[in-house]
């Protein structure tokens, strides 16, 4: 008990220790900064694995052994309150894994190394904060603070159009969070019949079904109104159509490691928000809106896939494929069945690993070619015949692509299968159309692969070198993850089963 009670604190604050350490390393000692950051993230990863090992998979909901609660602002009954359950644990482990890999992949960063790694570690800490916070206020603080390092990381180290992308990302998500803030504070006061608080666990359970809000003389049910406020806040992060327009810009302009974190972790914060806050607190409204959520999810799947198909920039293609894949997660959430929700959480994890692979691979290619055109604007081929030139790269690319496509035996398949199993009964039409999305997904990925890897070797591709040891090294854990969890997903499924079951049974009452 005593050994584990501070584990969450350690994981949350470890990256901050890393940041402080970096501040003391002179700017010119770039090697030391990299190694220090790597050591720091590896320690965090080990701590996360310890958390995973000590996690009791039979307990639904929050695990007492890990929870931390310290009073913060007594006037508003705000606490520094951390906890972990089966939904947040996979996200924490995913974050730790991806961050360690991101540090390795950022070895080639030359510009302002010190600031880059400090911001990266700072970002890591804020992401943990979101996944651990059990106080809505604390959650909100972390949710917002995360924007600051992200803004700089995209804006300073990004591509040509980085400023526009960074500002758009910042404003867009800030807009969503502000609505969330209003909803959050309103919730605080409505919860005041017993005791006003921001405690997510105390708020959840569907206490607010009878509350009514009067706006310009119209009586509107509180739960529905503020579910929508929270929905927009989270949906922008996911991103759910039509709030997705920031994502392609941010992805394309961001440096590789940031794209990885963005797609691998940050998008999941949105769906995590649904699971942790919107659904448990407003179960009735969630059920009421589940049709709409399912349709929006479907639009994401199909629209994202079609957009991806039209891209000539390979990074943009993968960015739109993320929109499509997150649509599957939304479908799973809308199902509100055990399989659907399990599938959604599993897909959150699996998409994190597979899309991270894709972005890392594109980053590796970009370092060699300095462009990402499948077809250049003038109509000539950007890449061609890579398969014969870069064999190791191609093999890993194939694994990543198939995992992302959802080929049986690789991780994407299981989660998508679970999602479709989960939604079939409630939304048969949507399921049928949704499966078409899988098909389109296969089509654009294979087309891309054909155009880039087969055919005549484009002249400049001949000078590219294959992946070096460092690059292969950081791809290995991800390859293992997508293959291993494709065959044997129960290490993740077991962890989340109980917690997801608890949420589903709450939703089933409405």
């Amino acid at each position: 008990m005593s050994g584990t009670s501070n584990l969450l604190n350690w994981i949350l604050w470890m990256p901050i220790i890393g940041v402080l350490g970096i501040l003391f390393i002179p700017r010119t000692k770039e090697g030391a900064i990299r190694v220090w950051s790597l050591i720091n993230t590896v320690i965090t990863l080990v701590l996360s694995l310890v958390l995973y090992a000590k996690f009791d998979t039979t307990v639904p909901g929050m695990q007492q052994a890990f929870s931390v609660k310290i009073p913060w602002i007594s006037q508003f009954n705000i606490n520094y309150y951390l906890g972990v359950d089966g939904i947040s644990l996979p996200m924490i482990v995913l974050t730790s894994l991806l961050l360690a890999i991101c540090i390795l992949s950022s070895w080639t960063i030359k510009k302002q190394v010190k600031a880059y790694f400090a911001l990266l570690l700072f970002l890591q800490s804020t992401v943990y904060g979101v996944f651990m916070a059990l106080d809505f206020f604390l959650f909100y603080v972390y949710w917002e603070v995360m924007l600051i390092p992200m803004f700089f990381l995209i804006g300073v180290w990004g591509g040509e159009n980085r400023e526009y992308a960074a500002v758009k990302f910042f404003l867009y998500t800030f807009f969503g969070s502000i609505l969330m803030l209003v909803g959050m504070v309103a919730l605080y006061f409505v919860s005041g019949q017993t005791e006003s608080s921001f405690d997510i666990l105390a708020l959840s359970g569907g206490h607010f079904t009878k509350e009514v809000v009067e706006i310009f003389g119209m009586a509107i049910p509180f739960a529905k109104l503020f579910f929508v406020a929270l929905f927009i806040g989270f949906a922008i992060k996911v991103p759910v159509f039509p709030f997705h327009t920031w994502l392609p810009h941010a992805h394309v302009q961001a440096p590789t490691a940031i794209s990885v974190i963005l797609a691998g972790v940050l998008l999941k914060m949105g769906t995590y928000g649904f699971l942790r806050i919107a659904f448990p607190i407003f179960p009735e409204a969630s059920v009421y809106f589940s049709d709409a959520i399912a349709w929006l999810g479907l639009i994401n799947v199909i629209y994202g896939a079609f957009c991806a198909m039209a891209q000539t920039d390979v990074k943009k293609l993968v960015a739109y494929s993320s929109v499509s894949h997150m649509g599957f997660v939304m479908l799973g959430l809308a199902a509100m069945t055990v399989q659907g929700m399990n599938g959604a959480v599993l897909q959150m994890f699996n998409h994190g690993t597979s899309t991270a692979m894709m972005f890392l691979l594109i980053g590796i290619l970009y370092e060699r070619s300095h462009h990402r055109w499948i077809v250049r604007p003038d109509g000539s081929k950007g890449f061609g015949g890579l398969y014969t030139q870069l064999p190791v790269y191609s093999i890993i690319f194939i694994i990543a692509m198939f995992a992302s496509m959802g080929l049986p035996g690789l991780s994407g398949f299981i989660s998508e299968a679970l999602i479709f199993l989960g939604i079939y009964e409630r939304f048969t039409t949507i399921t049928v159309i949704g499966v078409v999305g899988l098909l389109i997904g296969a089509a654009y990925l294979l087309w891309m692969f054909k155009r880039m890897f087969f055919g005549e070797v484009v002249e400049e591709c001949k000078s590219y070198t294959d992946m070096n040891a460092r690059e292969v090294f950081y791809m290995i854990p991800l390859c293992v993850a997508v293959i291993f969890f494709g065959i044997f997903p129960s290490p993740i499924l077991n962890v989340m089963k109980a917690s997801v079951g608890k949420l589903v049974s709450l939703l089933a009452q409405y």
Partner: protein
């Protein structure tokens, strides 16, 4: 009676100290000015700081004391006004420091600036304690007349003169309108004492209320002008831009704090009780004014080229946020306003300080002057970024906490629409605050020239002022407790 009077006047010492300081400053200036120009400045600044310091000590001591009324009930010293005065005194002290550094005020005008600033401060202190229509009017006029002089402090600069003139004209008209409203209120109620008006208001019949209603709106014009809320904001950008930078900083703090404080007091005293038609009109007016002020201020700030002008418009929108909290009519509103004022003062000072030094270097304060500041002066750029994020309301900075408190106060009263407008305005404001951060961090510097103003002392000073902006964002419990204890005394 006489004894209690003597005992109570002890609470009026901070104002008296400032009055004596002003007189002392004038005497120092008179004694030295004929000799070599500027030889008096060391004494002058020293004396001003001494006065401000003693006044501050008295104020802090008085914070925990019971509220009293003075001068037959026309002035009230309570913890609300005391806290507002502390903010004003601190703000004045910082601005005087800034004025000494700034090149925007001519060397031979610096002593005038200090003297007049102290005078404005006295007016502000009186205004925040006003418990009677006449004192309110005197407070506003003391504040205003000296401000007119400040605005045109750069005598041979046409824009500064224009600013002064504009300020005088607008100020004169609005003061006249307010006086008309006040006399009308006096005509209807037969008294100018706040507390007596408060008792009469609920007893009025519908007809009398209908007559009184416009007079309250006229009365609001004067206050609205002072805090530059829409539609009385037109003067602000021009005056702010035309005035020398330390003066602009001063205008953004002291008159604003005083205006917001008196607005809160008037609102709470007159309309804090049972809902009447008058109260609903007043609150309704305030809500609309708040929403408009926030929006107009923010939207206008987007298109500005000069940072000073941008900050001027942004200060309009911040006033709007505070007016929104004034609609609450309860202690929670007053508390959130006080917290906002405290954080707002620190943020404004840091922002204006950095702008001032940059402007002194380049001769103007266009946005491009901030390009690449991150590479040249990282500490300053980080401070500026912190302040910009804080002004926009990002956690974990104090600006966020301030906005959160106001949102909480509004939402507790279930003013959902106002809360959403407030929130959306934060998003708009982020756009232009972000612009500065963007230029500082993402753009390369125009030149490698040094900026002399960013010496070690000034950098330390600015960084130190930045500390509360960060610390109050995380550890705000104590301050909110103090602000919560600062009740408005009604007697």
């Amino acid at each position: 009676m006489a004894l209690t009077y003597l005992a109570n006047i002890g609470r009026y010492v901070p104002e008296l100290i400032m009055c004596f300081t002003m007189v002392g400053l004038i005497m120092i200036e008179a004694a030295y000015s004929d000799k070599e120009k500027g030889s008096s400045k060391g004494y002058l600044f020293g004396f001003a700081y001494m006065g401000l310091f003693f006044s501050l000590v008295y104020l802090v001591q008085g914070l925990s004391k019971d509220p009293v009324t003075l001068f037959t009930g026309s002035v009230v010293i309570d913890s609300f006004s005391t806290l507002a005065k502390i903010v004003m005194v601190l703000g004045t002290a910082f601005v005087i420091y800034l004025s000494r550094q700034s090149k925007d005020i001519y060397e031979d005008m610096k002593s005038e600036f200090v003297i007049i600033a102290v005078g404005v401060l006295v007016g502000g202190m009186l205004l925040s304690s006003a418990n009677n229509m006449l004192i309110l009017y005197i407070g506003i006029e003391t504040l205003s007349i000296l401000s007119y002089v400040l605005a045109s402090l750069k005598k041979n600069d046409t824009r500064s003169s224009e600013a002064g003139l504009k300020y005088v004209l607008y100020g004169g008209v609005s003061a006249g309108i307010m006086l008309f409203g006040i006399s009308h209120i006096f005509g209807m109620t037969g008294t100018i004492q706040f507390t007596e008006i408060m008792q009469i208001l609920p007893t009025l019949d519908a007809q009398k209320m209908a007559i009184l209603l416009p007079s309250f709106l006229l009365f609001f014009v004067g206050i609205g002008y002072k805090i530059s809320c829409v539609p009385f904001h037109m003067w602000t950008p021009d005056v702010y831009e035309g005035s020398p930078l330390p003066v602009t900083t001063f205008f953004a703090i002291v008159p604003k704090v005083a205006g917001i404080a008196v607005l809160t007091r008037v609102t709470m005293v007159f309309f804090g009780g049972e809902p009447t038609a008058l109260q609903m009109t007043w609150v309704g007016t305030l809500s609309v004014v708040a929403a408009l002020t926030m929006t107009v201020g923010n939207v206008s700030a987007i298109g500005q080229r000069s940072v000073k002008r941008m900050l001027a418009y942004s200060s309009i929108s911040h006033a709007g946020v505070m007016i929104a909290a004034a609609t609450v009519l309860k202690q929670t509103g007053a508390t959130s306003i006080l917290f906002y004022l405290i954080t707002y003062m620190f943020m404004t000072i840091v922002a204006f300080f950095i702008v001032s030094i940059v402007q002194d270097k380049y001769g103007n304060d266009h946005f491009e002057r901030f390009n690449g500041l991150m590479n040249k002066y990282p500490v300053m750029a980080i401070c500026m970024a912190i302040v910009m994020f804080s002004l926009a309301g990002l956690p974990p900075l104090s600006g966020f906490v301030a906005k959160f408190n106001i949102l909480a106060a509004i939402l507790k009263e279930k003013y959902y629409v106002l809360a959403v407008i407030l929130g959306l305005n934060s998003v708009v404001s982020l756009y232009y605050y972000l612009k500065i951060v963007r230029l500082m961090v993402f753009k390369p510097a125009e030149s490698d020239e040094k900026i002399e103003g960013f010496g070690f002392v000034n950098q330390t000073f600015i960084a130190a002022l930045c500390v509360p902006v960060v610390v109050l964002g995380v550890f705000w419990e104590k301050i909110i407790l103090i602000a919560d204890g600062a009740k408005i005394f009604i007697k």
